[in-house]
Symmetry: C2
Subunit: 281 residues, 2 copies
């Protein structure tokens, strides 16, 4: 039984999470859990964890780290009171030796004591802010996937992780480009300010009408193509590193957290006060 996206669109966060956890909802999460931070997921064997964290630290625009699990603990304790990384993402991609092997809706049987889960911020956050400022986002209005391109911009490598930066493109009305830059810069945990404005060729994109991932989107007259660092970048770096096993979310099928989208940090404030140092002990 699949729960309908339109019905969950107006549901509260616990209802959405429960539907995902029960396997009743396995589709994309755009527009769900309104107001809460959504995140990309990467699960790796612990031997790769330090280098992957360094890769994220060195490439904060494509890979804004918002949460890291303890080794072997599937509960994402800093991002929610009850987030189980094995069940709370609608769909997962399983990579073996850097190659996509299959997609699943539950990774309970794959999780081991040696796993570390990483959550990375995603573009939903700044897209919501743009729309609230009255700036149209074409791919959302037209229910398509944002166009994404492998750019000529190098990431900063860390251990086995390296590769070109993947960028997403949104066409912005000419007079609003500065405003868009300013708004998105306010969200460093959601890719921040654009990495390039104006000339696709300057960052190695020969045909802006033919994206490497996602759907094509028009660049109307009096609009400028604006490029942001994209959360597909770590996927490219993970393919380069080719760990024996790696699990990511299926694109668009994100982890929905308990963190308000406008929180200053992606960490629940009173979390460990309760578990480690009870105030009323």
């Amino acid at each position: 039984m699949t729960t309908d996206h339109n019905r969950l669109r107006h549901a509260d966060l616990p209802t959405v999470r429960q539907a995902i956890r029960a396997g009743q909802y396995t589709a994309h999460t755009a527009g769900l859990g309104a107001g809460y931070l959504q995140a990309n997921l990467a699960v790796l064997p612990s031997a790769y964890a330090l280098d992957f964290m360094r890769f994220c630290q060195r490439n904060p625009k494509p890979c804004p780290l918002v949460g890291v699990s303890d080794t072997g603990n599937p509960m994402m304790t800093t991002m929610g009171r009850d987030i189980d990384i094995r069940t709370d993402v609608p769909a997962y991609n399983i990579y073996r030796d850097g190659q996509l092997a299959r997609s699943v809706t539950d990774i309970t049987d794959l999780w081991t004591d040696d796993m570390v889960a990483f959550a990375l911020g995603c573009s939903f956050t700044f897209e919501n802010a743009l729309m609230q400022a009255g700036i149209p986002v074409w791919h959302i209005d037209n229910d398509t996937t944002v166009p994404m391109f492998r750019s000529s911009i190098d990431t900063v490598p860390a251990g086995p992780f390296w590769g070109k930066m993947v960028v997403s493109m949104r066409a912005v009305p000419n007079p609003r480009v500065d405003e868009v830059r300013e708004i998105s810069r306010r969200f460093p945990l959601a890719h921040g300010a654009p990495v390039h404005v104006g000339d696709p060729a300057a960052i190695g994109i020969t045909d802006p009408g033919a994206p490497d991932w996602g759907d094509p989107a028009p660049i109307p007259a009096d609009h400028v193509p604006v490029f942001w660092a994209c959360g597909v970048t770590p996927q490219v770096a993970l393919e380069a590193a080719s760990p024996p096993l790696c699990i990511t979310h299926k694109p668009g099928h994100m982890l929905i957290t308990d963190i308000p989208e406008d929180a200053e940090t992606p960490v629940l404030p009173q979390h460990t006060t309760q578990t480690r140092q009870p105030r009323r002990a």
Copy 2:
């Protein structure tokens, strides 16, 4: 021969770094290398690195991670073209099993292939922004050290790293508190917005005139005590973890980086383009 602080105050960044590297300047770095990001330092054996990175990720206000070295590589490549962590900090504290053993001005003989260096953002950045907005910072005007307190706020633990948050206090004129909050929030890599405004007792500080570190500072009439997460916090967590060896900067004696203070990210942009993928190869 010690180079005078006043002389270096007006020197350019390479001159300052060279004086520090040569051991000619071993004092505090406040006001030096104007416009460039300064950072706290922690050097740890690699077995502690993943947990310490998790601790920083979970406590981004006291521990804003701005750089991490490769294991065994003393060059802080993402933060400067020529930063050698063994020589480019004016003074270091050496901890053995969590206890301060001694202070030195060079750690070349202590660095091994197993070390990882971490750089964390510091308050100099937002203090400069406050002063530029015409908000006086008493301890700077009076050439003392900011008062710091062990608060009752718990950090979020990671592995062996845990402890109370250390906070620094600055008295702010009543009508400017909101402005101060707004300005400092703009610097997430320099402790961000205050963690508390107004009542010292609310965060476990019984006597705001008796700081645990630094010098006392007055709270004049019509001023409000404002508390920020402080970079001494990781030192407390490092003492709790008690690694066999740990090296930090000596408080106030910071690493001066090549990163402009107003950069969006603490990573030099074109860095690896040159070393890994030469454009003109």
